[in-house]
């Protein structure tokens, strides 16, 4: 990762946070149409925000495990 990626949050990151807050808050105002098969889970306020956030966390953590298992030096197939 580059140095810049670790630098202080830029303006676009704050816009992202604001957009997240607004859409999450909308859950408490908008009456969502629920699918009967999954309504008990889907109906929980904040389900999609939490699921989206956690999905990426799980994805990234498992990918780190995958890298440990399958990563080889570049040119592995060349010799």
């Amino acid at each position: 990762m580059s140095d810049e990626a670790h630098s202080s949050p830029s303006r676009i990151h704050w816009w992202l946070v604001i957009a997240c807050v607004i859409t999450a808050a909308a859950d408490f105002i908008v009456h969502r149409h629920l699918e009967p098969a999954v309504e008990q889970v889907e109906g929980i306020p904040g389900f999609y925000p939490v699921y989206g956030f956690l999905a990426i966390v799980i994805l990234v953590l498992l990918s780190r495990g995958l890298r440990a298992a399958v990563s080889r030096r570049d040119g592995y197939y060349d010799d």
């Binding site: 098969a37 999609y48 592995y76 197939y77």
Partner: protein, 566 residues
């Protein structure tokens, strides 16, 4: 429209002319080919046409219904975009093969009987292999050969399947066939053939092996036709086949992990392609009208936005010579137009509202949940977040933003920009006016993508997934780009052959050498010397007992070996 013109014909003629001509005339012919083909397609009547008799078979070269027309239309659009994108290319083999390849795909989806389908299937294999080989370096020659083996195996499997099916009295006419039943003779072979070309799990390795190895322009053609022809075939013959739900679900999940750790951005897109086909295969497996419509419309959109993403990475490759995430970054200042067009592709594949993926992928997901597959719905939602991570954020971020790589770069040639602009315009157009695509689908569409709930929940999912990526990157948990080779299932055949060679050469050859040396050379001499060493005055019986004992030991060893191995 032109009546009485078989759409494959312009592609054959165009390919021959493009292999002879050069300069402006070749460009004109290349551009005219898909346009004339499209006019021919629009002139085709519904139902069977161009029936010819061939060695006792009645071949139906064109069978137009809503499904085949949609795919043929899509392939003409993809061919036109591809030709514009590759207009600057001077490689005659590549452009000629590409036109024949596009024509083969069109011929395959229009095929009205299984024999014609098989011929198209084989032509697809051969012509596309030449696109890979036309790059003409050691790497692409080897990769192209591996690719060709896979495609030939697919063709062989299809041939075996059709022969067994026909032997058992099955019809060869597609209109009479309807849905194939997996338990009837020959049909599993046919499914295997389609599965190889569609990139089913474990059969998928040729996609990630080949697509990053072809030229910048070659990959744009490759990514459009082969896998989508397979999706067409699955939708035609196997709708509602439940096994496909599980296969498709696996296809949506496993590539997203590889996409996180893969450094070559065109390889990331190749994994992404398997993931997207997974959504289509799931839809076909569910098999309801909504699911099939979702799968087909997603195939249509995928050709456009995946093509756009491959084109933008091709543009990066064209001007910088690399698509490695470790080498790239900060290109947006030098390539602002390419950056914006890439972002349109990224938004489309991530299913952002107003972009094309939003109006098609959700149909598959809605069908899954309506049919009560709740576990599947959760899995597809997870995969959707994964798509955003690798195709929506990783691709544009590592190429155009992140740290400034200080690479020499400028905008690609104007024809490349034009092709990308057409692709991007279609992605936004379909995203904003989905009814136009919906009207072409096999079944009447009773689905509204733009509801408050759908827009809100999708935005929540995407925004919070993005936030998660940002947090993980800032905290250093996100795995950094590394110049590494990530092993996939192909290690078994790419290294397996060598491993077999090593085993034969080292343990077996050496072991056998040592064994024969011990048994044949040393042992008799040793025994002989032992026997000779026995003093002459020992009772004569010993000289007879010793060999007898040795023989007994050998017998015992032989018995033990047999007992335990048995």
């Amino acid at each position: 429209m032109i009546e009485g013109l078989y759409p494959l014909l312009p592609f054959v003629v165009g390919a021959i002319l493009c292999s002879i001509l050069s300069g402006i005339p070749r460009k004109i012919i290349a551009l005219a080919t898909p346009v004339v083909g499209l006019l021919g397609l629009l002139g085709l009547p519904d139902g069977a046409s161009f029936t010819i008799s061939f060695f006792g078979f009645d071949l139906i070269l064109a069978q137009v219904d809503r499904l085949s027309f949609l795919f043929a239309l899509l392939f003409h659009i993809a061919a036109l975009i591809g030709v514009i994108y590759a207009l600057h290319v001077k490689n005659r083999l590549e452009i000629g093969s590409a036109l024949l390849y596009a024509g083969s795909a069109i011929g395959t989806v229009l095929a009205g009987d299984l024999v014609t389908l098989f011929v198209g299937w084989e032509l697809l294999a051969l012509t596309s292999a030449f696109i890979v080989w036309s790059r003409n370096d050691d790497h692409s020659l080897a990769t192209g050969s591996r690719y060709f083996i896979f495609q030939v195996l697919s063709g062989l499997s299809l041939l075996i399947g059709i022969l067994i099916h026909h032997q058992a009295g099955g019809s060869l006419t597609i209109a009479e066939l309807g849905v194939l039943d997996l338990s009837s003779p020959g049909v599993p072979w046919i499914l295997l053939a389609f599965g190889i070309k569609a990139g089913f799990p474990l059969l998928h390795t040729w996609i990630i092996d080949t697509y990053p190895a072809a030229s910048a322009t070659g990959t744009v053609f490759l990514s459009a036709f082969t896998t989508k022809t397979a999706v067409y075939a699955l939708a035609r013959f196997f709708p509602g086949t439940e096994e496909l739900i599980l296969i498709g679900a696996a296809m949506t999940i496993f590539p997203i992990f590889y996409a996180v750790i893969e450094n070559d951005l065109r390889k990331v897109l190749s994994y992404s392609m398997i993931n997207q086909i997974g959504f289509m295969v799931v839809g076909i497996g569910i098999g309801t009208e909504l699911a099939i419509n979702g799968a087909i419309s997603h195939a249509f959109n995928d050709v456009l936005f995946k093509g756009l993403l491959f084109m933008s990475m091709g543009a990066v490759l064209h001007v910088t010579g690399t698509t490695r995430g470790t080498d790239l970054g900060g290109l947006w200042k030098k390539m602002p137009i390419t950056t914006v067009l890439c972002l349109v592709g990224a938004a489309s594949i991530s299913a952002v509202p107003l972009f094309s993926g939003f109006v098609s992928k959700s149909m598959v997901m809605a069908a899954a949940v309506q049919e009560g597959h709740s576990w599947l719905w959760f899995l597809l939602l997870f995969a959707s977040a994964g798509v955003l991570e690798h195709a929506g954020i990783k691709i544009p971020y590592f190429a155009f933003f992140a740290h400034d790589s200080k690479l020499e770069a400028k905008e690609p040639p104007v024809n490349m920009l034009l092709a990308m602009t057409i692709g991007a315009a279609l992605c936004i157009f379909i995203g904003c006016r989905p009814d136009l695509l919906y009207n072409l689908l096999p079944y009447t569409v009773d689905y509204l993508p733009y509801t408050t709930t759908h827009v809100l929940t999708q935005l929540q999912l995407l925004l919070f997934a993005s936030l998660s990526v940002v947090v993980l990157m800032k905290s250093g948990i996100y795995p950094p780009e590394l110049v590494r080779e990530n092993l996939d299932f192909d290690v078994f055949y790419r290294k397996g052959g060598r491993l077999l060679g090593w085993i034969v050469h080292n343990p077996i050859a050496r072991g056998a050498g040592a064994l024969s040396h011990t048994v044949l050379d040393k042992a008799p001499a040793k025994i002989l010397s032992l026997v000779q060493k026995i003093p002459a005055h020992t009772p004569v019986q010993w000289q007879m007992i010793l060999p007898g004992l040795l023989l007994l030991l050998a017998l015992l060893a032989f018995l033990c070996a047999n007992l335990f191995s048995g």
